[in-house]
Amino acid sequence: MNIFVCVSQVPDTATRIKPAADGKTIDKTDVNFILNPYDEIAVEQALRVKEAHGGEVTVISVGDDTVLNTIRKAIAMGADKAVHIKTQEEVDGISAARAVAEILKTANPDLVFTGKESVDSNSGQFATFLAALLDINVINVAVKFDLTGSHIRAEREIEGGKEVVETSLPAVVSCQKGLNEPRLPTLKGIMASKTKKPEEVAFSGGASWTAITELVKPPAKPAGKIVGADVSAVTALVDLLHNEAKVI
């Protein structure tokens, strides 16, 4: 089984985001970057498939040298090897996906796992981009995944329920919380992550089709009202919701 996992790095979820002086990107001073939480789930799923069916897990990440930390985390969890598609520029989702697809075209993957979305861009588009570029199947937002031979039966989350999806290899699968509990890196993995060098590949993803022209903080909310401190506040609250906020 030839398994790939696409990983991206994102600001630690506890970060308070500040726009940078250019007004388009975030101020990265003091920002700690981590492996995107959904990508941990993707790495875990790749490892489980390998453990059950044999094969090899390769991590791929597009970005500057700072993504090496993220790649290391995935190796520490147990991935066999890594490819770093190196670019200094900010690239959008489609151009990153093109660069990954370029590699996958010759690598002939059976399965490619991604996160449901990255918690920085919140696009949730990468898996589908890859599948469309490679002309293979895709299952998005998977919360259950079963592989028998080359047949996949998965469940994906939709509004108010789940869809049971069937398809076959090769496929891209985007992973959602609930699919598994990601393992912690092992000592052996951490040692391996220090010695295993990712293969470095030049970026060939072409032009971005989108650009962020402005990045601002959401407008601050005016200070709220404390309506009360006991049950007697309930009537007042309902009045306010009716007459002032007009939401009920």
């Binding site: 489609i94 049971v164 971005s208 989108t210 049950v231 906020a245």
Partner: protein, 324 residues
């Protein structure tokens, strides 16, 4: 002539509310940009019964792609249908809802049509003939204005972020024929599991959420009761989900759902930054927490500093009384 195409989504023989929002917005954007607006319905025989409803929000041209094989969702086939119709109608703007289906189709269509994609947008401006798209990033901690550089633009709209304005018309209905290959059906939905009658937190107009302090799954019953009188859904903090009180799909926040309901009632939730990321764009926020220093009060419009086990049932009773 160039056009704007709105892909409408239906489940169980009904159009989704988020599709009415997309159609409404699409109608006004098309007017500003001087484009013809079409609503596209893709599916099996059920589609015929949906056209009248689809015309109620300001767009009078309905296009259909029907095939018995499309009665179950097959992502590649649906993507082929949307792309082929977009080409046939020279669509330069394609709108979908940012639902599980819409987000997936949007990305497919973007690749198939060499089109720029902006997903989960909360603002779309077209006054003066220029498109301006705003979408939250960093899970709501920032707002980005996105330039869509390609001639064709695909935009998915966050449910509840745009109003659905009723404007009935008598629709013209045109069936468009699309040729599918076997590959188009290589990935398909074989079953749908719906939590019976359960409203999704991402689609609900009112969400009542509970945190760790609820203490058990059973105790969420008081939130269920409150949500029921309000016609809303029940959400949860990650601490409540991790404690096993609620399932993953109810989680609100950075690694859960990001939602913009009309009213969000946070009960016994501290307001950690990861939680705020998922709900701070709610229109009105109510917090019930016994700790007056809890960060949730910093973004709440209305707060009650008290025990939720006293306040929530009393609130439910008060609302019941008034609805009579």
């Amino acid at each position: 002539m160039s056009s704007l195409l709105i892909v409408a989504e239906h489940r169980n023989g009904k159009l989704k509310k988020s599709s009415f929002e997309a159609i409404s917005k699409g109608a006004s954007v098309a007017k500003d940009l001087g484009l013809t607006a079409h609503v596209l319905l893709v599916g099996g025989n059920e589609v015929a019964g949906l056209t009248a409803e689809a015309a109620n929000y300001g767009v009078s041209s309905i296009l259909t792609v029907t095939d018995p094989k499309l009665s179950a969702y097959a992502n590649r086939a649906f993507a082929t249908a949307v792309s082929e119709v977009a080409k046939a109608k020279s669509a330069t703007v394609i709108l979908l809802s940012a639902t599980a289906l819409g987000r997936e189709l949007g990305a497919f269509v973007s690749v198939k049509l060499d089109a720029s994609l902006a997903s989960d947008c909360t603002e779309l401006h077209s006054a003066g003939g220029n498109l301006k798209v705003i979408r939250p990033v960093y899970t709501g901690k920032a707002l980005s204005t996105v330039e869509l550089k390609q001639p064709v633009k695909v935009i998915t709209l966050r449910p509840n972020a745009f109003p659905a304005v009723s404007s009935p018309s008598s629709p013209s209905v045109e069936a468009v024929s699309v040729t599918f290959s076997d590959k188009d059906f290589a990935c398909k939905v074989v079953d749908t599991i719906t939590a019976s009658g359960k409203l999704d937190v991402a689609e609900a107009e009112i969400v009542v959420s509970g945190g760790r302090s609820l203490g058990s799954a059973e105790n969420f019953k008081i939130l269920e009761d409150l949500a029921a009188v309000l016609g809303g859904a029940v959400g949860a903090s990650r601490a409540a989900v991790d404690s096993g009180y609620r399932s993953h799909e109810d989680q609100v926040g950075q690694t859960g759902k990001v939602i913009s309901p009309k009213l969000y009632i946070a009960c016994g939730i501290s307001g950690a930054i990861q939680h705020l990321a998922g709900m701070s764009s709610s229109k009105v926020i109510v917090a019930i927490n016994k700790d007056k220093e809890a960060p949730i009060f910093q973004i709440a419009d209305y707060g009650i500093v008290a025990d939720l086990f006293e306040i929530v049932p009393a609130l439910t009773e008060e609302l019941k009384k008034r609805s009579h």
